[in-house]
């Protein structure tokens, strides 16, 4: 809320500058988000006084004003009609600067030289009003620079009011807080209501409230014979400074009093109230109603309506109706000041999506005890600004409720805060907040909560009040009393740690993408409808179509990141992402962790000494092998069934017969859907299954004391025979074989593959004949297979 410092000072004495006050408010829970200095955007404009007005000899619609500047008398040509002898006016003499940097020059107007000009509010940057010369308040001193006049200067505090503090949505409400902080009591405005003695409200309008739960208090007051005008500068200025727009004397007063006291008001054109009757009731059935913004609103049972003799005239607390709206010609006004139950208002505003300054306050709860006073205040101001006669007495329905009383012990207060605040300090703080101490006991206090504090409902709320005014900075910082116990990391934390460490060590960058993608991604990846990855969880109110559903797998996001980087010149990428994926299982959303990684391009663009090959399948497969190794998991690759992988260069990964993921080259057309022109090798794994299968405990094996023996074998092998199977066969040939590797592969009509086999015994030094025998066995086993022959 925007709070003009000048207005605030009407209610409390503030003997500090706005910045210091802002800090104090912030530290008591009303965070001041900013302060804005307000001053007219002019320079060199002085306060002048009109001493004489003469006709312009050459123009009928111009006059010649003699202006006393305190030092001299200047004849100024003026076209406005609103000036009179004796008025104080802003004079911009030659050289003075106005809004937007406009500099006043000497000018001949219809043959008469004018050494300056008189200014409107708009020219001074004070408002949008350009209807006439800005007539200054009488307290301005002739000869003084206008921008030094106190009435145009101000500092506006922008205060972030907590959502539970509706009582602070007014200048007076803020003043009450300032009073608590500065140990004063905020003063309500004092005025004297002069009423027309022989006319009584009850002769003009009848009032009935049919549901006092929805509307426990309703006040109507009347003022007759007014004339609607533009409000004086001081009212308009305050309304503008609070961020609202001035309209006319009647509407401005309702807004002004709402800003001042926090009570939203509504003015009806009395002559348009049919049957001279006001009835507050709940809508009984669905109906439509045109609010004053011109919109047709659908009303439902339970909305609070203000009705006249024939039907609704206002949507209570939210917006008036077009049918009873104030117009320029309104003469008699019926003013409503009421308390509407916040629950009803919230329900209606939420449904209709209307947010007005009034509903905002009703929703949070206003001060029911202030309803009558606010009506008097508004009627007084209307009378002052628009004339007319105030009708004596108000029509009122008021169902009073007893105030809440809470009991709180001193030990509860200090025990929860960890403080030693004295009983005197506690009672002093409570009193400064208008929290009435009903009874003071040995152990604690009975406290009555005033009606404006809707946020205080239980002892903890009172402790908050005490702590924030006592000052959070005075509360010590302590170590908890309870002892520390060692914390065990859970399995997922540990496993995620392994993933992060592995990929960091393997030269991968981690990505974090939004967990949303679009149905298009599922389509691009050719996921069939029967696949669980097509059973997405949709968002009812997404920010865009691109992010309309929860991702069912991570790869599309990784692909988008790859495209983003390639478009910015990075062609060689090693990327991984871990995170949740989401599915709809029989209509219920479920989620689990997944890991995706991808490589594209090559290890580096160049190094002067070496030559790099582009990544291929065996690069990504090696990474998968390394990752699985880190988890102690043995996996089995099988020919892929994934529709998005190049079938020649993709495998599905199985562990203990369960598929946990896939690796391979993405199909060219899929990569192209993401506008990528280069080959992408990618993999994705279900993390939750890894969690079940992983073996992270390390068991030490003694280092063998005997030397190992290495033998190489080369075979011609038909393409139809998978080498992986042969490696398994060799490995299985003897427990003395500790490793089998492929050190060469080339093609010369037939495929030649060279194996390097390491033999190792833990018991003794291997004898030549033992190794020779094993070598024979290996050669025999392999060459027995159709399509394999030993290479000489």
């Amino acid at each position: 809320m925007k709070v003009p410092f000048e207005w605030l000072s009407e209610f409390v004495v503030i003997d500090m500058d706005p910045q210091d006050l802002a800090l104090k408010l912030t530290m008591c829970g009303l965070e001041v988000e900013g302060t804005e200095k307000k001053a007219p955007s002019c320079n060199g404009v002085v306060v002048g006084k009109i001493t004489a007005i003469d006709k312009h000899p050459n123009a009928e619609n111009l006059v010649l004003c003699m202006i006393d500047t305190g030092r001299e008398s200047l004849p100024i040509v003026c076209g406005a009609k609103n000036v009179a002898v004796g008025d104080k006016v802003p004079l911009a003499a030659v050289g003075a600067q106005l809004k937007d940097g406009f500099v006043v020059e000497k000018k001949k107007i219809r043959g008469i030289e004018s050494p300056g000009m008189l200014c409107s509010e708009k020219e001074l940057g004070l408002s949008d009003d350009h209807s006439g010369i800005f007539i200054l308040p009488d307290e301005c001193r002739v000869g003084r620079l206008l921008h030094e006049e106190p009435f145009v200067q101000d500092v506006i505090l922008d205060i972030n009011i907590p959502p539970n503090r509706g009582d602070c949505l007014s200048i007076y409400g803020i003043a009450r807080e300032v009073g608590s902080i500065l140990d004063q009591r905020a003063k309500l405005p004092i005025f004297n209501l002069e009423t027309e003695a022989n006319k009584k409200g009850k002769d003009f309008v009848s009032l009935k409230v049919l549901n006092t739960d929805a509307c426990p208090r309703y006040v109507l007051r009347m003022i007759n014979g007014i004339s609607i005008k533009t409000s004086p500068f001081w009212i308009r200025n305050r309304i503008i400074k609070c961020g609202m727009r001035p309209i006319n004397t009647i509407v401005d007063v309702t807004n002004y009093v709402m800003l001042e006291l926090g009570q939203p008001l509504h003015a009806f054109d009395y002559q348009r109230i049919r049957g001279k009757r006001i009835e507050v009731r709940l809508a009984e059935q669905e109906t439509t109603f045109r609010t004053l913004d011109g919109n047709e609103r659908k009303l439902l049972q339970g909305d609070i309506l203000i009705c006249d003799g024939e039907g609704p005239v206002a949507l209570a607390g939210i917006m008036g109706g077009e049918n009873s709206e104030i117009s320029e010609t309104t003469q008699d006004v019926a003013l409503e000041s009421a308390y509407f139950n916040p629950l009803y208002i919230r329900k209606t505003t939420r449904r209709l999506g209307i947010k007005s300054e009034a509903s905002l306050r009703f929703e949070k709860g206003i001060d029911i005890d202030n309803v009558g006073f606010a009506a008097e205040r508004a009627i007084f101001l209307m009378n002052r600004l628009s004339g007319g006669a105030i009708i004596k007495g108000e029509r009122e329905v008021y169902e009073k409720k007893e105030l809440k009383t809470l009991f709180i012990t001193y030990s509860h207060i200090n025990g929860l805060l960890g403080t030693h605040i004295s009983q005197q300090d506690i009672t002093k703080i409570l009193r400064s907040l208008d929290l009435h101490i009903k009874k003071e006991g040995e152990e604690g206090l009975f406290i009555t909560i005033p009606n404006f504090r809707h946020d205080i409902n239980e002892p903890a709320d009172i402790i908050e009040e005490i702590s924030r005014l006592y000052g959070y900075d005075r509360i010590p910082a302590t170590r908890p009393i309870s002892p520390l116990s060692a914390q065990k990391r859970n399995a997922r934390e540990i496993a995620l740690g392994t993933v992060k460490e592995f990929f960091k060590g393997a030269g991968f960058f981690e990505l974090i993408n939004f967990a949303f993608f679009s149905e298009k991604d599922i389509e691009y990846f050719l996921i069939p409808p029967s696949d669980e990855r097509a059973a997405f969880v949709g968002i009812a109110n997404p920010i865009s179509r691109e992010y309309a559903v929860m991702r069912t797998f991570i790869a599309p996001g990784v692909l988008k990141s790859i495209a983003y980087n390639i478009n910015r010149g990075a062609k060689n990428l090693r990327l991984f992402e871990k995170g949740k994926v989401f599915f709809s299982k029989e209509g219920a959303p479920c989620e689990r962790f997944a890991v995706c990684f991808a490589i594209t391009g090559r290890e580096a663009e160049f190094f002067w000494r070496d030559k790099y090959n582009d990544y291929d399948f065996f690069d990504i497969k090696g990474i998968m092998e390394g990752l699985m190794g880190a988890f102690g998991i043995t996996f089995f690759p099988q020919k892929t069934s994934e529709p998005f992988l190049n079938p020649q260069r993709g495998v599905d990964i199985f562990v203990d017969g369960t598929k946990i993921g896939w690796i391979g080259e993405l199909r060219e057309e899929i990569v192209k859907s993401y506008e990528i022109e280069q080959s992408i090798y990618c993999a994705e794994l279900q993390f939750d299954i890894i969690l079940q299968k992983m073996k992270l405990e390390v068991q030490y094996h003694p280092i063998p004391r005997f030397p190992q023996v290495t033998r190489d074998f080369s075979f011609f092998i038909d393409d139809s025979i998978p080498v992986g199977m042969l490696m398994d066969k060799i490995r299985g040939a003897s427990p003395l074989i500790t490793s089998v590797g492929i050190f060469d592969m080339f093609r010369k009509e037939k495929r030649s593959v060279s194996f390097r086999v390491v033999f190792q015994s833990y018991e003794d030094t291997l004898k030549d004949e033992t190794v020779n025998r094993l070598q024979e066995i290996i050669i025999k086993e392999l060459t027995n297979i159709n399509g394999i022959s030993l290479r000489a």
Binding site: N164, K347, L416, P476, Q487, R492, I543, F582, E603
Partner: protein, 336 residues
Amino acid sequence: MDIDVLQERVNKELSSIKTIDDVRKVRISLLGRKGVFSEYIDNIKLLDKGKRREAGQEINTLKLRTENRLQELEDSYAAEEKKKKDAASWIDITMPGKAPLVGKKHPITQTLDEMVRIFTSLGFSVAEGPDIELDYYNFEALNIPADHPARDMQDTFYIQDGVVLRTHTSPVQIRVMESQLPPLRIIAPGTVYRCDNDISHTPMFHQVEGLMVDKNVRFSDLKGILSMFVQDMFGKDTPLRFRPSYFPFTEPSAEVDIGCVICGGTGCRVCKDTGWIEIVGSGMVHPQVFRNVGYDQEEVTGFAFGMGVERIAMIRYGIDDIRQFYYNDIRFLSQF
């Protein structure tokens, strides 16, 4: 036996030496077991007894001279060879080195890991909850009923009636309290979602929630724990302040500000000229929340806190646009 012939032979062989290998060959042919000198020495015994001594002496002197000469030659050739070798091992040490493959964790992950480390050291363990959450856990159990004004503070993504993407990690508090009895000391790091997308908001971001419930947990303990966190995360001398605030699920509530690290407190765009940056929302667990999970609020008290990981990472690294975290530009990722 002619010493002069021997001398001549020696001279001839020595002058034929061109390399260190020649030195070795000549040494063998002259001084080896079957070399020229051996032959001469063997032949001494064929001489007259009177001449033997003199001839022996002459041969020995010549042998010694030859040995010395050969050693000289060997040393000089060896030095020459070493020099050549040294010259051949020359490289231009100013050529660029080969960069190893270096991977990086995302700055959000790095920051999150650091936060978890600190709270783990303070005795908190990690808890988890779902991203797709029931309205009850995300709002109602946290004392935010359907028509509560605080719902306006958060723009919620809805999945279906009663199911939302969690707008904060606070529902984990409820899930933990429903399934465990006090004492509790947990943190819940995780992804949260709000229907917001501009220079200072992303529709998804990260939070770390904290909860401690036990007998006699005090507001002063909350100050203590969060002060320790801030000092560990941002440095011992980081100014910090606790300021009253409002959250529906804590009472009293506090916001924690740290001195602006960008401007040092003099005021800048990041701290909106206040010199302070808000990093934590916190407070004592609201009695209604305890009632909702069936804890006896006469028996236990507790505090809870929540902080945005992106915000802390932004402060830590001086990043001014939150969206940078989600472009995944490697020129960005490689900086951390």
